[in-house]
């Protein structure tokens, strides 16, 4: 049985949605912290902004959940397709030399996976109310993706930029 088929009530769907967004916000903040500590303020600011947007989205979902009983699910019991929520960026994808363009590409991957997650549920959940709300969220994620695409146009850095380190870390002579 697919996850979409298992999400058969609004409370479970909202629980997944809130956790998806809040984990994404926390991860963006974590990545922003990493960049601040490593003196990459531009990328830090980008991740911080992305955290802000994820948090706004999470708050919106929490508001819509008002009066409902969100489930309490242990972090490891969420049946995400990957090892973490679909909008949670992978820590191993970042580097202290990364640029805003790289950060935006990571964010776009996150938004794409979030869109796919909601889209699958909008097609596969047995509950019509879940399907409708999931379709709405999928559409929102698509809009985020389009906004990120426009933002990225202003940052045409190549992946090669991140690999060139003028002061590489290595063992002292």
């Amino acid at each position: 049985m697919s996850l979409a088929e298992k999400i058969s009530d609004l409370d479970t769907f909202l629980t997944y949605s809130v956790v998806l967004e809040e984990e994404a916000a926390d991860r963006h903040d974590e990545l922003a912290d990493m960049m601040e500590v490593h003196n990459n303020p531009e990328v830090a600011a980008t991740f911080r902004k992305l955290a802000h947007y994820s948090r706004l989205h999470a708050r919106e979902i929490r508001d819509r959940s008002s009066g409902r009983s969100l489930r309490v699910i242990a972090p490891w019991d969420f049946e995400w397709e990957g090892m973490e929520g679909p909008e949670t960026g992978d820590i191993s994808d970042v580097n202290y030399l990364m640029s805003t363009g790289h950060a935006l590409k990571i964010a776009m991957g996150n938004e794409q996976r979030a869109h796919d997650f909601y889209f699958e549920i909008s097609k596969g959940s047995p509950d019509p109310a879940v399907r409708a709300l999931a379709a709405e969220f999928a559409e929102e994620e698509k809009e985020h993706l389009e906004l990120l695409e426009k933002w990225l146009e202003k940052h045409p850095e190549s992946d090669e930029d991140m690999r060139w380190d003028p002061d590489p870390a290595h063992m002292p002579e």
Binding site: D26, E30, L31, D33, M34, M35, E36, V37, H38, V72, A74, P75, W76, F78, M83, E84, D90, I91, S92, D93, V94, N95, Y96, M98, A169, H170, M171, P172, E173
Partner: protein, 278 residues
């Protein structure tokens, strides 16, 4: 309070300090921190009843990044410190963390004796197969042909330790391996390890993006053990030997008497000392 209510009471963020980690961006140690804080939040442990003891090295900085009691100790001596703490304050939940060099080289002797002593604590080795803080030298878990360090330009040529096998031989009563690319899976293992009565050992495969960038590919090789937890040491040993070191899950768990000061064999000192009493 049931587990669900406890989870609401404390969040993982409550277990983090205000300090921002100085680990390299991309380091697996961030995920260990996340896994520990998620595990503690899930278990609903009061912060003042938990202590995290560490040694020296990149990973050992972790004690400062949590809001529980912490002690950033001496190189290789985290388990000695933690054993002292547990002896004095048996009521505390004691976690110990450090790297593969700290725990298996400088602290190797403490490690094997902590395993056999079986005090009730959880030891996490954040294994990146390299000394990172000193800029990339081979550690006891480094493959013999790793030649990227200037100290060992042709590799060490020495067979690496298998931390899980070493722990089993030395008598650890709980042995598991997790991966930082799966912080939720690692948190689940930590909940079981902390809940275990006795010495629990968790090897966390934690890639080093700076000195071992090839480890960033571990996420494509790690898989879950396809067998149930074993309580049979022979079976567990076979499982560890047959594995490539990239399988995750709880490998071995058994009940064994937990060492507490005063519960060992009477060394006769009491009767000798009583002779001095006037």
């Amino acid at each position: 309070m049931d587990q669900a209510a406890q989870q609401i009471a404390l969040t993982p963020k409550d277990f983090k300090s205000a300090l921002k980690p100085v680990w390299c961006p991309g380091c697996g140690d961030f995920a260990v921190l996340n896994a520990i804080t998620k595990a503690l939040a899930f278990m609903g442990l009061p912060r003042e009843e938990v202590a995290l003891i560490s040694g020296i090295g990149c990973s050992s900085r972790i004690a400062a990044y949590t809001s529980v009691y912490g002690f950033h100790g001496v190189h290789g001596r985290a388990l000695a410190l933690a054993s002292g703490l547990k002896a004095a304050r048996g009521d505390l939940t004691v976690l110990v963390a450090g790297g593969d060099g700290d725990g298996l080289s400088i602290g190797g002797n403490h490690f094997i004796h902590a395993c056999r002593r079986n005090m009730d604590m959880t030891y996490i080795i954040m294994d990146n197969e390299v000394y990172g803080m000193t800029k990339g030298q081979a550690s006891p878990t480094t493959a013999p042909d790793w030649a990227d360090s200037k100290l060992t330009p042709h590799g060490t040529g020495i067979r690496p330790f298998q931390p899980a096998g070493l722990a089993l031989t030395a008598g650890a009563s709980f042995i598991a391996r997790g991966f930082t690319g799966d912080p939720n899976g690692l948190a689940k293992i930590l909940v079981a390890a902390i809940g275990h009565k006795g010495f629990s050992f968790v090897q966390a495969l934690s890639p080093c993006p700076t000195f071992r960038p090839e480890q960033m590919l571990w996420k494509h090789h790690v898989k879950a053990f396809d067998q149930e937890i074993s309580s049979n040491p022979v079976e567990a040993a076979q499982r560890i030997q047959a594995d490539d070191g990239m399988s995750t899950g709880i490998i071995y768990q058994n009940e064994r008497p937990v060492f507490r000061p005063g519960t060992g064999v009477d060394n006769g000192m009491g009767s000798i000392e009583s002779e001095f009493t006037i």
